[in-house]
Structure formats: structure tokens, C-alpha cells
């Protein structure tokens, strides 16, 4: 199967995934006995007209299957409905928040992936040496440190005690965001030639990206180490060494290429997880991203926002897995796309 055929087939499979996700999310969010219309309209202060208007907009007086049909019909027309917590279309909210989270996740992955892989390789080839112990401690700390604690400590250290980095946000106080082209402040600052917002946005990325990436770094590090250890004890590595292949080539060409496959799987999953689960990091660093948006939507039972967020996350996971599968084939020629 050609690569493009494989990609198209996988993308077509997105449709049943989306339908499945919407059915589950819709049912779960709508069967809870609640009065979201009153909550959106102001709680006890809500006026009857406002409650009736919202109930009508959400079709809350219709049977559940009809409500789902209305939702699906809107979805086909690329209308994700209105976010009542934000008082604007869900699509607009996602358009604003997705780039913020994506930018943060990308930088977190840029920290975690190279450091994790390099650390894992060193740890494996220097097994039971000091560097291995050190990387093991880094991994254990990365696994076990609660993300909120790490975030608070980093804020305390670098924004208060030794104030060299900003405490929160995406830009310095009162700084006007760059003209929106992509929504990524770093890229938009470069595209618009705005040096001040570029440097401010880069500085503001450091603490939250490190916080978000630290646990991923630990996972990648350990996964790379264990894969490398397994591969490096394989017969073909011994053969390569016996043939006199330089050690560097043995490690990077014969060892790493084969050890990378499980690491790639983890990277793909972690990428999706970070994009959808940056709630704590975004809350503590006051980062206007999808995690905060989703958390508020869930707590406020903002159906449309929850559904919109879930859809985006499902799509991200499918695409991330697709990319990982494509990379498998690139890294290991034995892997054939689409089986057979």
C-alpha cells in the first residue's frame, strides 16, 4: 500500500471515531440531572426568559436522541455550538486556545524528547555508572513529582526568590499580543518582526514548558534506556562489534534505530496527553489554553465546550498515532504500512 493511500484510509477511519466519541460524550454529559440553563443564565439571579432562551438553544426540552441529532446536524455544518461559559461560539474559543496549548506542548516536547532520548542512550551505554544513576534519579523525580508542586516551586524559585523569569501568562503585563496569523505567539512575533513580543513570549514559555515536559522527559528517558539495553544485547549488535564496526555506529545506526520504535509510541501518546491534559500547568501559569477551558467547561457542565474539546482531542490522538505509524516505517524498513 502506498503511503498516501494509507494516510487517506486512516483519515477516513476518523469518521467512525468521531461519531463514537460524540455518542459517548454526549450521553455522559447529558444524562446527569442538572440545570445547566439556569447555571449559564446566572444561577439564582437567572431570569425566566434567559433560561427559556438557553433551553431552546440547547434543545433541552427534546428527547436525548433528538438533542443528539441536532448536535450532529450542527457538527456536519462545522458548528460546534455556543460556549455559554464564554458567551461565544465554541469554535472561536478553540481557535484562541488551541494554538496556546499547542505552542506550549511543542516546546515541552522539544525539551523532553531530545533530552529524554539522549539521556536514555547515555544511561544504557553507561549502565550502572554514575550517569545512569543520575538519569535514574531524574526519571524517578520526573515520575513522582506532582506537577502542581513542581510548577509552584519553579514559580517560587525563578519568579519570586530569584526573579529572572516571568511568573505567569504568555506575555509581559500590558503587552499587546502579536497580530494573529497562526495564533502561536512565537511564530507570529517572528512573522511580524516583533522582537519585543518574541523575546517576551519565549521567556514566558520556559517555566510552563519545563513543568509540562519534565514527566514526559522521565518517561522517554526510561523507555529509551530499557529499549537500548534490550537491543544492545541482541546478536546482531554482537556481530556488528565482532565485524569491527565502530562503537558509535553500532550505537546510533544499529542500536538506536531499532530501539526507537517503543520510544516513538510513547512520544506519540505523550504528545496527545500533553495537548489534552495540561490543566494544572495552564491553571498555575495562567496560560490561556485548552486545558483550562476544558476544566471550566466540565465543572460548569458547558456541554458544547466539553464536546468540542473532546472532538479536538480525539482528532489529535488519531493524527498523532498516524504520524507515529508513519515514523515506524521510516525508522524500521521491516514495518510495512497497512500490514502485509
Amino acid at each position: 500500500m502506498k503511503t498516501w493511500e494509507y494516510i487517506v484510509r486512516r483519515l477516513i477511519l476518523l469518521i467512525p471515531v468521531i461519531i463514537g466519541v460524540t455518542i459517548i460524550t454526549f450521553t455522559v454529559s447529558h444524562v446527569i440531572p442538572a440545570d445547566p440553563a439556569r447555571a449559564f443564565a446566572g444561577g439564582p439571579k437567572a431570569q425566566p426568559e434567559a433560561i427559556a432562551h438557553i433551553r431552546a438553544e440547547l434543545h433541552l426540552d427534546e428527547p436525548l436522541w433528538k438533542q443528539y441529532f441536532f448536535y450532529l446536524n450542527d457538527l456536519i455544518h462545522l458548528n460546534l455550538g455556543k460556549s455559554y461559559l464564554e458567551n461565544r461560539p465554541v469554535l472561536e474559543s478553540l481557535r484562541d486556545y488551541f494554538p496556546a496549548t499547542f505552542e506550549l506542548t511543542m516546546v515541552a516536547m522539544l525539551i523532553a524528547v531530545p533530552l529524554g532520548i539522549i539521556g536514555g542512550i547515555i544511561s544504557a551505554i553507561k549502565q550502572n555508572k554514575i550517569s545512569d544513576h543520575f538519569s535514574r534519579i531524574i526519571a524517578i523525580v520526573g515520575y513522582s513529582l506532582p506537577i502542581f508542586w513542581l510548577a509552584l516551586m519553579l514559580q517560587y524559585l525563578f519568579a519570586y526568590l530569584v526573579p529572572i523569569l516571568p511568573l505567569e501568562g504568555r506575555l509581559s503585563v500590558g503587552m499587546v499580543p502579536p497580530t494573529t496569523i497562526t495564533g502561536f505567539y512565537v511564530i507570529d512575533s517572528i512573522l511580524t518582526g516583533n522582537v519585543a513580543t518574541l523575546s517576551s513570549s519565549l521567556l514566558h514559555l520556559i517555566l510552563p514548558a519545563f513543568t509540562l515536559g519534565f514527566s514526559t522527559l522521565a518517561i522517554i528517558l526510561r523507555m529509551t534506556r530499557s529499549s537500548m539495553l534490550e537491543v544492545m544485547s541482541a546478536d546482531y549488535i554482537r556481530t556488528a562489534r565482532a565485524k569491527g564496526v565502530p562503537e558509535r555506529k553500532v550505537i546510533y545506526q544499529h542500536g538506536l534505530r531499532n530501539a526507537l520504535i517503543p520510544t516513538l509510541t510513547v512520544i506519540g501518546l505523550q504528545f496527545g496527553a500533553l495537548l489534552s491534559g495540561a490543566v494544572l500547568t495552564e491553571t498555575i501559569f495562567n496560560w490561556p489554553g485548552m486545558g483550562r477551558f476544558a476544566a471550566n467547561a466540565v465543572l460548569g457542565l458547558d456541554f458544547n465546550s466539553v464536546m468540542g474539546f473532546t472532538l479536538i482531542v480525539a482528532i489529535i490522538y488519531v493524527i498523532a498515532n498516524l504520524i507515529v505509524d508513519l515514523l515506524y516505517a521510516m525508522v524500521d524498513p521491516r514495518v510495512k504500512l497497512g500490514g502485509g
Binding site: 442538572a34 445547566p36 439556569r38 431570569q47 426568559e49 543520575f134 526573579p163 495562567n286
Partner: protein, 553 residues
């Protein structure tokens, strides 16, 4: 032991030591650092929770939206400083009211420009009021505030700088309505150029933009992050004297972030929950604002509950004596709560019509016991050797999850009920589910709730609290109704004679306090942290932030 193993252990120990040193450095070097140099000297930065839903005065109803609207737009009248008892001129220089108490004439300032340079005149005033009523915001329905006494025929332009408002009925709180954000004056030309007025439809452009006569104009709004206002160079009040040029209102959900921002000087003003005030108290350069707010804390009885004994006023009186008010103040609110004698909070006109501001009910289990016994609710149900009232039927106490104060009060109340021989269950659920229970079921007996002001008039509290559903009240769905109280509420509402209003509210109080549909627990203390370099701030519960008064020095 093998040599390699020893080496390995040594290496491990060294690595551990390095990590420990790093950790110790981060934790032990906590030398208190306090920012003394003023950061951003011409910019006021507030860290708060939540963010506006809209910037349109015709739609704004939540406090975050009204805060921005109040600083971008002016109204005909306003409040000054912390004075809630008097109303002052703003866009109106002065006003008169005819003897019929229905016809009000406002003389406008001549020197007012909108932030875009357009002059403000009577046409804009009429347009603004009629716009609110026509748009009738479907999402917030805030138009009800003006519609209490105005309609589309109420406002007449006498001349370019004089408007006459003929009320549909007399209303004692009329001027207070005009000071609320919904009565802000918008630029007719700007609105017409950006969608105009469409009946029963919110204006999408006005949600995120706006041109007003207020001291500040919108610079930018990054959702879920910050609203930034810049000074309006056309402001009629002028910019001589000391003022901040820029206002930044940040939406920061995490309390520790707000505290750190205040401590390192990023924030000039921040919302700090009661439990965290200890973190900033007595720190150099910081100050804690503590004022009685208009936010009241209530315990509601469902008088039409499926537990029939809740319909008996004697049961509700007894429960009012069984609530430990001092525990609520001391334990739940860390002493940041004042007693509330009735519907009207302290600071609002007619507060003293409520037993001169003294609470009728105090924690008195003996009195509660006596009332229940006299009413025939005896401890006559033996359950495993303990005697309970109400045939051991449990009173269902509810609070919304995540609200620590209400949780503590519920548990304290449960203990008191146990002492009285009343079985009870404390339960919690999320806010939308909580509202569903309150408004769509009678499967609750007691719930905690709060109320914040719309405008500075007792009618905004008495009518929704103890007015009947038929009279447009019973906001909390307690099912309570009393025709005499309704009559007194309407007397107080529809007269502008202060003596008559006071008499009506006194009479209403004397009835509803002896047949309680709720426990008036307290009035929350408004607590915020601020830098001492911020000046000009004064707390006004109905015009919480007026940035024009602020400066940093």
C-alpha cells in the same frame, strides 16, 4: 562485596546528594524577599478570578463584565468613593422630579465626548435606554432592571442636553437603577455602524468592543487571560492629577499564583481567599482590604419539601435557633463574616428597619428544643437506644461541592441537629446539579446559597428573598409566600417617600422573621490583598472598582 557494587553505591549516594542539595537550596533559601520598587508605575494590575462574559452594557450582568463596563462607560448618576448612601451626578449635571414622582428631568453635561471623539448628547441617552429594552438580552435578560419602571416610551428628548424620563410606575430605587451598568450611555453612531439594534438579539460587536465616555477605553482582551484598558484621552473628567494610564485585569484561577504576583509586585491588587490571607498579612508593602460587602450568606428552607414538617414555621424557627452563627463566622469564614439580621445588608439604605440591625435568632439549642417540644415534635422514636424526632426522618442538608465554607457550616449544623435529636444527612453536588435540585425538585430541606447586589436598593434583596413567586419573588424556590409581606414589599418599592419605605420594610421584616423561609447567616467581608504603593482605592460594594481614582506612589 564486589568492587563494582561498592562503586555503584557510591555513585548512587553522590547522585542523591546532588539532588538533595538542589532541593535544599530551593526550599531552605526562603529568605523573605519583598518588592519595594514600584513595578509598572503607570499601570494598575489586578489579579482576579473569572473573566467578563461581555463588554456590552445591554448584556452585562456578571460582576466581571460590569466591572469593565463601569470603567469604559458613564451613567447619568454614580457613586463616589465608599459612599453607598448618596447618589452623585455623572453625565447628568443635575435632575428634578415632578410631584407625581413619575417624571424625572435630567440636565446633561455639555462637554462630554466619547472615546472616538463623538459628542455625547440626549439622543445617545434615549438610544441607550431604548436599546437595552429592545435588545432585551436573551442570554442575560438584564433588561429587567430598567423594565421595572421604564419602557420604550419613557425617555423623551427635551433638547440636546435635557432628557425627561416618565416612569411606568413610581419606583423608590430608580436612581440606583440608573447607577447600574445596564444604564450606561453608548455612542449611537458607533452601535449603528456595527450591527445596530436588533430586537431580542445581543450585538456581537458590542460584546468584544465598545466606545464609551468613561475614563478608560478597551486596549485589548485576551480571553481567559487579561483585559487591558487604556486611558481615554477625551475623558470629560480630564487627566490632571494622579491617575493610572493603563489598567490590566488578569484572570488567574490559582490562588498561589495571585499571592506570588502580589508579593513580587506584578500585581497591585489581588483576590485572596480567606484561608490564604494569613500568607500576606503583616508583610511589608502589602495591605489587606477588609470591608463588609453586600454579599450575603443564606441557609434556605424548602417549605414545600417532601418532608412535610418543613412546612411548619415552628420547625423552621427552631432550626433558626439551632444554627451556630458564631461557629459559621469563626470556623467557616475565619471571622470574615458579619451577622446579618434580615434581607438587607449593612451599608444599604433601610438596614435599620430590621430590628435596628440586631439579629432575632442566636444559637440557642434550649430554645430550639422548647419550640419543637411545644409544637409536638418530641424525641419519641427510639433508634438503637437514641431518641429522635420526626420519626427519625432525616433532614437533608445540601451544599455545592468545592465550597469549603458551606461544607463546614453544614457539618456544624448537622452536629447541632444531632444534639436536638434530629437525624440529618449532609450531601454535596456540582453547581448545575445543585441548581437542578433547588429549582426542579423538593428533595431537599436546607441549602446554602449566596446573593450579590445588582443595584443599591433594598428592593433588590427583599423582593427576591421573601416575596412570593406570584409577586415575582421566591428566587430561591423555597415555596414560601405571604400576602401581607408582598403588599409591604410593593409599598416599599413603589414609593419614593423614605418614611413610607422604612415603615413598609419594618412591617415586612416583623412578619417574615417570625415565619422564616431562610436563615440569615451573615454578610461576607470583602477581602483583597493590595500593595501599599496603590493609592486612591476605596471599597464600594456597588461600584467595586473605579480605576480613575487610582494611582501608584
Amino acid at each position: 562485596m564486589e568492587r563494582s557494587s561498592v562503586r555503584s553505591m557510591k555513585a548512587c549516594a553522590i547522585a542523591l546528594l546532588i539532588c538533595a542539595v538542589l532541593l535544599m537550596t530551593s526550599l531552605s533559601g526562603c529568605v523573605q524577599q519583598n518588592q519595594t520598587t514600584i513595578k509598572n508605575p503607570t499601570t494598575y494590575v489586578r489579579y482576579d478570578i473569572g473573566e467578563p462574559k461581555t463588554l456590552d452594557p445591554a448584556e452585562a450582568y456578571d460582576s466581571a463584565s460590569c466591572d469593565i463596563v463601569n470603567n469604559m462607560y458613564d451613567r447619568l448618576v454614580t457613586y463616589h468613593g465608599n459612599d453607598t448612601l448618596h447618589i452623585y451626578p455623572s453625565l447628568a449635571l443635575n435632575w428634578t422630579v415632578a410631584s407625581d414622582q413619575l417624571t424625572w428631568t435630567f440636565h446633561l453635561r455639555h462637554d462630554v465626548l466619547f472615546s472616538n471623539g463623538d459628542p455625547m448628547n440626549a439622543t445617545d441617552v434615549k438610544y441607550s435606554f431604548n436599546r437595552v429594552i429592545t435588545v432585551n438580552s436573551p442570554d442575560s435578560s438584564v433588561a429587567w432592571i430598567l423594565e421595572q419602571c421604564m419602557n420604550l416610551n419613557s425617555t423623551t428628548i427635551i433638547d440636546p442636553y435635557t432628557v425627561q424620563i416618565k416612569l411606568t410606575n413610581t419606583y423608590g430605587g430608580f436612581l440606583a437603577l440608573l447607577a447600574f451598568s445596564v444604564a450606561s450611555i453608548v455612542d449611537m453612531k458607533t452601535v449603528e455602524a456595527n450591527g445596530g439594534i436588533v430586537a431580542n438579539t445581543d450585538n456581537e460587536w458590542m460584546k468584544e468592543n465598545g466606545v464609551g465616555t468613561g475614563p478608560y477605553q478597551l486596549d485589548h482582551w485576551t480571553h481567559n487571560s487579561e483585559v487591558v484598558l487604556a486611558k481615554n484621552l477625551n475623558y470629560w473628567g480630564g487627566w490632571s492629577g494622579q491617575h493610572v494610564d493603563t489598567v490590566v485585569v488578569k484572570s488567574a484561577d490559582e490562588a498561589s499564583t495571585r499571592i506570588l504576583a502580589l508579593e513580587n509586585g506584578d500585581a497591585d491588587f489581588a483576590y485572596i481567599p480567606y484561608g490564604n490571607l494569613v500568607d500576606i498579612n503583616n508583610k511589608t508593602g502589602l495591605f489587606t482590604v477588609q470591608e463588609p460587602s453586600y454579599n450575603v450568606v443564606l441557609g434556605l428552607f424548602d417549605t414545600v419539601s417532601s418532608n412535610k414538617f418543613m412546612a411548619d414555621k415552628e420547625v423552621r424557627r427552631a432550626l433558626s435557633y439551632a444554627f451556630n452563627y458564631q461557629s459559621a463566622i469563626d470556623d467557616a469564614f475565619n471571622s470574615y463574616l458579619y451577622r446579618l439580621p434580615g434581607c438587607i445588608p449593612k451599608g444599604m439604605p433601610y438596614y435599620n428597619t430590621q430590628n435596628n440591625g440586631t439579629s432575632v435568632y442566636n444559637y440557642n439549642l434550649a430554645m430550639a428544643d422548647q419550640i419543637l417540644n411545644q409544637s409536638g415534635y418530641l424525641r419519641d422514636f427510639n433508634f438503637k437506644g437514641t431518641y429522635y424526632r420526626f420519626n427519625n426522618t432525616a433532614i437533608r442538608l445540601w451544599y455545592n461541592s468545592g465550597n469549603a465554607e458551606r461544607q463546614k457550616m453544614a457539618l456544624s449544623f448537622q452536629q447541632a441537629l444531632t444534639d436536638l435529636g434530629i437525624n440529618s444527612i449532609v450531601s454535596t453536588e456540582g453547581w448545575p446539579q445543585y441548581l437542578n435540585r433547588m429549582y426542579h425538585t423538593n428533595e431537599w430541606d436546607f441549602m446554602f446559597l449566596g446573593w450579590m447586589p445588582d443595584y443599591n436598593d433594598p428592593d433588590d434583596y427583599i423582593a427576591p428573598f421573601v416575596g412570593s413567586a406570584a409577586n415575582g419573588g421566591d428566587t430561591f424556590h423555597t415555596g414560601w409566600a405571604n400576602a401581607s409581606v408582598d403588599s409591604y414589599i410593593n409599598q416599599g418599592k413603589y414609593t419614593v417617600d423614605p418614611t413610607a419605605r422604612a415603615a413598609a420594610y419594618t412591617a415586612a421584616f416583623n412578619i417574615y422573621i417570625n415565619d422564616p423561609s431562610m436563615i440569615f447567616i451573615g454578610q461576607e467581608t470583602y477581602t483583597r490583598g493590595m500593595r501599599t504603593w496603590l493609592h486612591g482605592y476605596s471599597y464600594n460594594p456597588v461600584l467595586e472598582y473605579y480605576y480613575y481614582d487610582y494611582y501608584k506612589a
